[in-house]
């Protein structure tokens, strides 16, 4: 990881126009960048999945789709969070219905509705219907009708999971680097704030007709303008990068108000002691994304400061979306340079890194 400083910003800014244009031209050449990114970004990096408080009890779970894969994130009997593909080991059926974190499911077992294979919270196959066992004794059945199974090897496919405070991240690759390598110093800064003490208040989901990276670029600019948060006099912004991932963090002088853009697709805004918001930017396809915003408050609903935080956060996002739509429209007319915002280097950096990931 390297620390971002102004000299690098200036160096990048000087030729940002050229490089950004090239980057957008390359994207045009890729018939469906999201298909590529499913592998190079969403199949490889740590992705924010949801909040640990929503599955506080053993057996509670929610589903989360990353790229083409839907995962079950569940609290085990041992108190640890686990993640599995929502795919039955028997014949690959989807097992549990879409279950948002805001309305979690629960149970001691995960059971596939098709032929009732039943797994424990560690993803181990625990039972199959009696009839299958009996089937092997039935001489009238053809061999292929009889299910051969081995409880040892017929478990659910588990997926790596780790956390920053109560924020759960998943990684679809077989052998991922540590989460701390991807999130950088954001982890320490957030963990010092006891985010688990706040309760989920509200989820708001909207769609934007822009590529997710265009929206991400605009939200990044918002991180750089943290001084617009109420009560924040001055803030320091750091961009941490390595050859693939980065995070952009802005923290006020006493560290209570923070905004982080964490590669590849989540922002975390913390408003002092009052609350915080996470915003996931999930691609739907190459030209559309879904923003999933969750608000958390420390004192239950209703203090004026919390309402003000939600208003400011929504306002900031609305501005970012407007900017993203302008950039999208300008992109079409090849006038990218005219519409780049005040923080070209961050936008350039996002495009550049996504580009590298794709190659």
């Amino acid at each position: 990881m390297t620390q971002w400083d102004d000299s690098q910003a200036a160096a990048v800014s000087e030729n940002v126009t050229d490089e950004s244009s090239t980057s957008s031209a390359n994207q045009l050449a890729d018939p469906d960048p999201f298909e590529t990114e499913k592998e190079t970004v969403f199949g490889r990096d740590w992705i924010y999945a949801g909040h640990a408080n929503s599955i506080a009890e053993p057996g509670q779970f929610f589903t989360r789709t990353v790229g083409d894969r839907q995962l079950i994130v569940v609290r085990g009997h041992d108190g640890e969070s686990k993640a599995f593909d929502n795919v039955c080991a028997h014949r690959g059926s989807k097992m549990v219905e879409d279950t948002p974190m805001t309305d979690p499911g629960g149970g001691n077992r995960i059971q596939c509705p098709y032929h009732l294979w039943t797994y424990d919270l560690d993803g181990e196959l625990r039972s199959t219907p009696k009839s299958f066992e009996d089937a092997s004794l039935n001489p009238d059945l053809e061999n292929e009708d009889v299910q051969e199974f081995d409880c040892e090897t017929n478990g659910l496919n588990d997926v790596h999971i780790d956390s920053v405070g109560p924020l759960l991240f998943v990684n679809l690759s077989d052998d991922p680097p540590a989460l701390s390598e991807q999130v950088g110093p954001m982890a320490d800064r957030l963990e010092s704030l006891s985010l688990e003490a706040a309760d989920h208040e509200r989820r708001v989901v909207e769609e934007v007709e822009c590529n997710w990276k265009t929206v991400a670029g605009s939200l990044l600019d918002a991180v750089d303008r943290q001084d617009r948060l109420p009560g924040v006099e001055s803030a320091e912004t750091d961009l941490e990068t390595d050859d693939h991932c980065w995070s952009l963090s802005s923290t006020d002088d006493d560290g209570r108000a923070q905004i982080h853009y964490c590669w590849p697709n989540v922002t975390i805004e913390v408003d002092g002691d009052d609350g915080y918001a996470t915003c996931i930017i999930d691609p739907v396809d190459a030209g559309r994304c879904q923003l999933i915003v969750d608000y958390y408050a420390r004192d239950g609903d209703g203090t004026e400061a919390e309402r003000e935080f939600v208003r400011t956060s929504r306002q900031r996002r609305a501005e970012a979306i407007e900017l993203a739509e302008r950039r999208r429209d300008a992109d079409g007319a090849s006038t990218l340079e005219r519409t780049l915002g005040p923080n070209e280097h961050t936008v350039h950096d996002l495009h550049g890194l996504a580009q590298e990931s794709n190659s």
């Binding site: 989820r203 708001v204 879904q290």
Partner: protein, 127 residues
Amino acid sequence: MSTQQQQHSTYAASCPDCDVDLHSEDPNEIVEFYRRHSSVTGHDVEFTRIGPDLVDAVTEDDLKEVYTLKDVVTQLEAEYENGVPIGAVAAAMSEQGLSIGETLEKIHEIRMGGGLYEPQDDHLRAF
């Protein structure tokens, strides 16, 4: 879609909980939006604008009787070659106060009972 295009779109739907909306020319795109939205929120979505021909299809009846969902499909079948898009059915049913989630549930029930079939994905015909 630009703001101006949005003002003239044939279909619009919104989630009152999130205070967000979607505009489209294709009613099935609204159903896709509903599925994506409800999958991460559990929220239902309501049509706020539908094509005028659909309003006619469910309200202009000589006897002024209330059509069932299956009647609506039969009524619209002539307009579509390979099945009525479920979004058009949901839009028509919204005239009777049904949300998109409620209509999809009803469609599922009637299909299971053998009253409707899908000549292609997300398109309906009545038996």
